[in-house]
Amino acid sequence: MPIAADRKLPGPVRNPVLRSLYQTAAVVRMTLRNVMLSKRTVLMVLLASVPIGIAVLLRNVMPEEGRRPASHEVFTGLFVVLYVYFVTILTAVFYGTSLIGDERSDRTITFLLIRPVPRELLVLGKFVAYAVSVSVLLTASLAVTHWIFSGMDYDAESFRKAVPFLTHARIIALAAIAYGAVFTFLGATFRRPIILAFAYCFVWESVLPYLPVFLKKATLMHYVLSLIPNWTAEGSVLAFAAEPIKPAQAIQTLLWVCGAFLVLTVISLRTKEHTFEKEKEL
């Protein structure tokens, strides 16, 4: 191999704070790039298009004005069932578990772990990239759905007031972040995180609401639903999930959960020895 001339080459940034910023930015950039180019993203875009397709369908099949339920009521129902229970959770499952899990299964995590990047920054950078990409995807989908619904009413302004877009965008972003942190931890720690993630969503989160009140609070969904304005589950199939708490408390809890699971992810990355041969044997 020809040796590159013994030229004076630049070194890493000396200032530790600035260096950490550059390192985090590098992790975010790499992760965003990998997320954008993954086949999973095509699936997620299709998934996020489902509510849009249903909104278009509803717009065409809904009866004339005056004989149909108010658009904001239909939108809220669709928001809870499709966005909160379906799209956001599935997006969080697929992206969250793969955030570190894919790097582990592909073994590319080796290249990250041999760099002088504190594990905290690795997790932070990856999670920021996840939060940005998922928020953009879900918010874009929600914006289109919201626009379609606002066109159904003669008085679009009253619809926008009843169903403020930014509030709803914030809810799914918060839900995606909280669920995403849980699934990122699963991906960083367990070999088959997607199975555990589905078990968490469709067993834990589905069964607990039927149990006593104090157990309902052990689900993230309880806090997410508490954020939805002018929405009550009474009379709906989701009645078991009632008893909302104050939005501020719900936001606080979701952020705490997010933080706690990110810390657990860091601990997992710090302490776990990645022995690929053994994993292969299992």
Binding site: P2, P10, Y22, A26, M30, L37, R107, T110, F111, P116
Partner: protein, 247 residues
């Protein structure tokens, strides 16, 4: 400084893993640049340094190709490039020659020797053991995480005197020479090879054997074509040591 879990240590460390997985949609240059940015380089500095590392690894022409289109040897060079790009003091190379063509192997061996000459600590792990001998005489033989032996390959071999040393001689009169050698007490066995006039001798006192051998050859006018010691490779040493450990 804690060696385990201390990320600052990684600044001085270049590691070429034996895994053959990459971010395949990235180009070699993008990958090397990203690795340097993860090490805390500014974007422009990272690119400039990555270009130099790829040049050192002989990948300049393929720098802008996607890694997915690289051959095994090119991927191997890329791993070496990312390991050396940040100018580390300690370089750990795990099976660095795997998948390389003969020319690539020679280049890589030259590069590794050069790093050593520059005063860096280079640790090479390999199961293609004879290639290590082309890089260094100093070896550490490990099995299941335990050091079996360390030092000069010939010194390590000396530790194993209880194993007969193998010597191969090819000559014009193998049968005659074998008869002569079997008279010596230190010669445990002599095996005639079917083709090529070869003799495979096992001796328990190699020093005595090699002192007496020239005299026998010259006095009996035996024409010797070659004299080698198959045991003198790291591979043989490793095999003996592992066997010794098992028994």
């Amino acid at each position: 400084m804690r060696p385990w879990g201390s990320f600052s240590v990684h600044r001085f460390l270049g590691y070429c893993p034996d895994i053959d997985t990459f971010y395949r949609t990235m180009t070699g240059l993008a990958f090397s640049t990203a690795m340097l940015r993860l090490s805390g380089f500014r974007p422009k500095a990272a690119r400039k340094t990555a270009e130099a590392a790829l040049e050192t690894a002989g990948l300049t022409e393929q720098a802008n190709k996607k890694i997915g289109a690289y051959s095994k040897g090119m991927r191997q060079r890329l791993k070496v490039a990312q390991a050396i790009a940040h100018n580390p003091e300690i370089i750990i190379l795990d099976e660095p020659l795997s998948g390389m063509d003969p020319l690539g192997r020679k280049d890589a061996i030259d590069l590794i020797r050069r790093f050593g000459e520059e005063g860096r600590t280079v640790v090479v792990s390999s199961h293609i053991l004879h290639e290590i001998e082309a890089m260094t005489n100093t070896i550490v033989v490990m099995n299941n995480g335990k050091v079996l032996a360390e030092g000069n390959v010939h010194e390590v071999r000396e530790l194993l005197n209880k194993y007969p040393r193998k010597v191969r001689i090819t000559c014009d009169r193998p049968r005659f020479l074998s008869g002569k050698l079997l008279e010596w007490e230190d010669v445990v066995s002599v095996r005639l090879e079917r083709e090529g006039g070869g003799l495979l001798i096992e001796t328990i006192e190699p020093d005595t054997f090699f002192t007496r051998l020239p005299e026998v050859i010259l006095s009996n006018k035996v024409e010797v074509e070659s004299l080698t010691s198959p045991d003198d490779t790291v591979e043989a040493v490793f095999k003996y040591l592992v066997e010794e450990k098992r028994t």
